[in-house]
Amino acid sequence: MPYKLPIGPYHPALEEPYKLLLTCRGEVIEDVQVEVGFVMRSIELLAQRRNYIQDLVLVEHVCGICSNVHAMTFAMAAEKIAGIELPPRALYIRTIVAELERLHSHLLWAGIGAEDIGYRSMFMEIYYLRERVMDILEAISGNRVNYGMIALGGVTRDLTDPESILTAVREVRKGVEKVVIPIFTQDATVKARTQGIGVLSTEDAVAYGAVGPLARASNVPDDIRESDPYGAYPELGFKPVVLPGCDVQARVVVRALEMLEAVRLIEEALRLIPAGPIRIADPLPVIPAGEATARAEAQRGEVFYYVASDGSDTPVRVKIRTPSFVNIPAVQAITRGQFLADLPLIQASIDPCISCTDR
């Protein structure tokens, strides 16, 4: 006789409010219904009442972890409408900050994943590395979370101390290579908790429209940095990480390898970064009437923006599609037939963000 088990929306085990309604038979999950909307702030509607400069600040608050990428994608859409070409240095700085953001987010995720497995000391080790990245972001922008780096037509602050960035990211690489990857791939306990658990087949990944590390761990070679390049990525020789494992371990390894790729991209960008202005001369560019879409690869997958302008200082329509909005429904496909005890880790493995989903 199957029974129903509600979890959430407010529950000590959940970092953010959402509701799972599980149908279980004994220890095995038969079906999951996900309910969201508990932290909806109507950011799209608010953005249609504020001017573009205010909107840059507003959309940065969609999510605390992937904040910069929202402001960047919104700016990319507005710049496309106005036909604004960015100075090359600005493209490089945007790319470096985006990769630093990916680095701290993947480290945060790896830490939480380690804690879910019950590996407390590994959590501490990873969060120490993450703190190094946060220090760098604070040194660049003055902020740990909402960096305020994006301006229409460029960035607001220059990079003045590339050496300290290099020192920090190399330290992170060392940590990832010596601690994170060996433990996540070789430790017997971790392998038992991750191998063959939470399988998302390639067909399901495509059908649900899954994006980001979740899709790439299911052998879907889709990375916006390669398939619809932006910023300085075309000049940095970016290579997406795609694995055929489809399980929790593949998702862990994809993110770990992406951290190494992020460090390489930052090193390469700091080597190639040209001198010059960091934003266009006009501090308040006029966005003419028109519409445009923009995509960027956030740490969780494709962020999509649609912006329509009527020529005034306020956009008529701002549509925000976050990666978690498409990845969370895939939980249904992943959890069917899994053990209840594996649910926290399976959920964590897709790196869900409820603030992003609800907006």
Binding site: V36, G37, M40, S42, E44, L45, Q48, R49, K80, V206, A207, Y208, G209, V211, D222, E226, S227, D228, A292, T293, A294, R295, E302, F304, Y306, A308, S309, D310, G311, S312, T314, P315, V316, R317, V318, K319, R321, F325, V326, P329, D358
Partner: protein, 143 residues
């Protein structure tokens, strides 16, 4: 690439196609989204999302944003009396997208397997996002 565009044009009942910096745009106000979804599915395109835009005549423009590597395709369809056929049975990715548009723009998707509200409580009226944006929103607020 041309094959898929030709198929899309016939599926969208001679939609007008335009190439822009952010991909192809097809204006197909009267098209059936199920036929467009069928073509895109055959080419393994990913449905990024659907943008709903309020129209002055009370209808809603729905822009289906499909993604093929290096070739994003956007198809604009208009609702008929705020109704459109659902594509959720063809593309499961559309399930939540259509639920959200139903919730916030009060569009009915016929044939959707489970058109419950997504983000707003069921007690609240549908169509919370049917409010003006842009210059109109600012005049309304200052008036």
């Amino acid at each position: 690439m041309d094959a898929i565009l030709n198929e899309l044009i016939s599926a969208s009942q001679n939609g007008q196609i335009e190439q822009r910096a952010d991909g192809y745009w097809i204006e197909a106000a009267g098209a059936d989204p199920r036929e467009i979804a069928g073509v895109m599915k055959a080419y393994h395109a990913r449905l990024s999302t659907v943008t709903a835009v309020n129209r002055a005549d009370g209808e809603t423009d729905l822009i289906y944003h499909f993604f093929l590597p290096k070739k994003p395709i956007n198809v604009r369809v208009t609702t008929r009396e705020q109704r459109l056929p659902s594509v959720a049975t063809i593309l499961p990715a559309a399930n939540w997208i259509e639920r959200e548009i139903h919730d916030l723009f009060a569009v009915q998707f016929d044939g959707h397997p489970d058109l419950r509200r997504l983000v707003r409580p069921p007690e609240m009226p549908e169509g919370f996002y049917r409010q003006p944006g842009g210059a109109a929103a600012r005049t309304e607020r200052t008036a």
